[in-house]
């Protein structure tokens, strides 16, 4: 172990030190940040279930409802260190409630009327989740660095960078009146593609070909989705699940489709350009026909799995809602169209983007190779 540390370059050692320092610093901060919140936070010291009630509804669902009495100590603000009594109701299934346990931190509202009494009373607002969000972030960073080394580091940087670009783009959308979300999404998609592909591949013709084919591929997916919606008059798409938005949800859906298919399309774009450029580098005299045939062969192998990846990511999120509708006596077709139509449309359009990027990637790479040949 010692030997390994010594053999590491100063830069690597420095990076490890920064990592260790930020890890310790952030863990310490998150454990002691109660004072930074304006809202009172209380730590549960005792939790007892006082009442149990069995429930069953008209659809034959059985559940159990519990009433829980909590004692907690206030962690910040003017009532710091005072005892607080709280009541909580939770169900066995927990669709919109939680069972609280000793040691958890909760955001609470304190009744001002109870200020003079021995124990304060109040109501629960939310769970303090910041320390767990931090913990999972660190586990993610460490796992990716340990297993992926340099490539893992690039994945983390690319995730962080893309999240910042997305957040900034959405800020512009929110702040600008009559902003065109699709235009903003197109610019962001271009930035996402350039940053991600440059990080993975560096500055070279392979990357340029991949960037061009990715952009053409996602736009093709978007156009085909728009075409399908236009010819059918939007029939079959149910925007029920986006109704919490006070914005035109068709546009938000299209922008989501656009950004969502980008990663998979990028993957196909870089695979196509990398393999065709490898063919060319191995045999600079290779014919255009041979490159096309090999390109199609490679594309065939990857299109199924890539479409699958998108499909599972999109569909999975709807499972709880689908179950809720089914348990409430809704028929399969109705539950299906309310909870799954948008996800399936996204998955299919993304799949189209993936498949179309195969020929697009082949032709773009061949175009770049032809230009290179002409220059020689």
């Amino acid at each position: 172990m010692k030997k390994r540390l010594i053999s590491a370059s100063p830069l690597t050692l420095f990076l490890y030190a920064v990592l260790l320092f930020s890890f310790l610093g952030s863990v310490y901060f998150i454990q002691h940040n109660h004072g930074f919140y304006d809202q009172p936070i209380a730590k549960i010291t005792e939790a007892t279930v006082e009442e149990t009630q069995e429930l069953s509804d008209i659809y034959g669902n059985d559940d159990v409802l519990y009433t829980q009495h909590l004692e907690a100590t206030v962690q910040n603000g003017e009532y710091k260190r005072r005892t607080l009594e709280l009541d909580n109701e939770f169900s066995l299934s927990g669709a919109n409630d939680h069972e609280y346990k000793t040691g958890q931190d909760l955001f609470v509202f304190i009744d001002s009327a109870s200020a003079d009494e021995a124990a304060l009373s109040g109501t629960i607002d939310n769970v303090k989740r910041d320390q767990y969000v931090l913990a999972i972030t660190w586990i993610f960073v460490l796992v990716l660095l340990v297993i992926g080394k340099k490539q893992g580091f690039y994945s983390i940087v690319s995730l962080a960078l893309n999240a910042v670009i997305l957040s900034y783009a959405l800020d512009i959308y929110i702040r600008t009146e009559n902003a065109n979300l699709l235009l903003i999404a197109s610019v962001s998609v271009f930035l996402f593609t350039v940053t991600s592909l440059l990080l993975v591949n560096g500055l070279n013709e392979k990357t340029y070909a991949a960037i061009v084919s990715t952009m053409l591929g996602v736009f093709a997916a978007l156009l085909l989705a728009a075409f399908a919606i236009w010819t059918s008059g939007g029939n079959g798409l149910n925007y029920e699940e986006m109704q919490f938005l006070s914005r035109p949800y068709e546009v938000v859906f299209m922008a989501g489709l656009f950004i969502g298919s980008l990663g998979a399309v990028m993957d196909v774009g870089i695979t196509m350009s990398a393999s065709i450029f490898t063919l060319y580098e191995k045999n600079p005299d290779i014919s255009i026909e041979a490159m096309k045939t090999s390109g199609i062969e490679i594309g065939k192998d990857i299109m199924g799995t890539m479409a699958n990846i998108l499909f599972f990511v999109y569909i999975s999120g709807s499972i709880p809602m689908l179950l809720l509708y089914l348990s409430n006596g809704a028929t399969w077709p109705f539950s299906f169209s309310i909870t799954l139509s948008l996800e399936i449309a996204r998955a299919l359009a993304g799949g189209l983007g993936i498949v179309l990027t195969i020929p697009i990637g082949i032709f773009t790479s061949i175009f770049f190779i032809k230009r290179k040949r002409a220059a020689q």
Binding site: S93, I136, V143, I174, G236, V252, A264, I296, K300
Partner: protein, 251 residues
């Protein structure tokens, strides 16, 4: 005409035109996967069935479809199958532990209004469903990486039969690392795309950083994205070890 039907027909045509028979099989497997998912939901709809048990069964069937149905049964697909299932079970335990701590079970604030007419007490554990959602979202990517590691590893071993198990594992790691960047990107953007509405909603409400980080929806999104990334990374060592073990033992 229905949008979904038009899109499905277009996708099927594109896959067959470009991929021929392989394209047709790819489309068919997509459809089969969808049926398996619906079957799983059907089983979970009965509160007597354990969602965790059924998600493991679904993972096994889905990996069978994606690995054996498309690529046939051989050492490579067998190794990929084993690594997928082991990674899934490990990841599942980790997610159950984390989602229990983070309390992300159930619906978010943005969904609750829509649900006011429904009975929420349906006897199915939403804490377990939260883990089911994360696991299902990564299954496609994890089978993809495991087969993309095991099949070139076999090629490497066939060309260099004298390789030790240790060297073969290292070759597997190198192959896996090269896939890490693009695969995590694929998942991240898919999640960004499906969370776009929620993100806009957050921004519209002008939540403070503290409000966002502690809210159930944000914590659930982070947990999903990061666990998916962890799963993709974890399958690299698991697939490398299993393939090396199976190949070198055979000698």
């Amino acid at each position: 005409m229905n949008v979904l039907v038009i899109l499905a027909v277009m996708l099927c045509m594109a896959m067959v035109m470009i991929g021929g028979k392989t394209g047709a099989i790819s489309f068919l497997s997509l459809f089969l996967n969808f049926l398996v998912l619906l079957g799983t939901v059907y089983m979970m709809n009965d509160p007597a069935n354990d969602p965790i048990l059924w998600v493991i069964i679904a993972c096994v069937i889905i990996s069978c479809i994606n690995l054996f149905f498309i690529n046939g049964i051989n050492t490579t697909t067998l190794a990929a199958f084993l690594s997928t299932v082991i990674t899934m079970v490990g990841l599942l335990l980790f997610i159950l532990f984390m989602s229990d701590l983070t309390m992300i079970n159930g619906f978010g604030e943005e969904e609750v209004d829509e649900l006011s007419l429904l009975s929420l007490y349906i006897g199915i554990s939403f804490a377990e469903l939260a883990a089911v959602v994360i696991i299902i979202s990564t299954i496609g990517a994890i089978t993809d990486i495991s087969i993309s590691i095991t099949s070139p590893m076999r090629e490497v071993y066939l060309h260099n039969p004298g390789m030790s198990r240790r060297e073969l594992v290292q070759a597997g790691f190198a192959i896996g690392r090269d896939l890490l960047g693009t695969s995590t990107n694929t998942l991240f953007f898919a999640f960004f795309g499906s969370y776009l509405g929620l993100l806009i909603w957050f921004k519209d409400l002008s939540y403070s950083l503290g409000d966002i980080v502690n809210s159930k929806i944000f914590a659930a999104e982070m947990l999903t994205i990061l666990c998916a990334g962890i799963g993709i990374a974890l399958v690299i060592p698991i697939a490398s070890w299993i393939t090396a073990f199976l190949l070198v033992r055979k000698k």
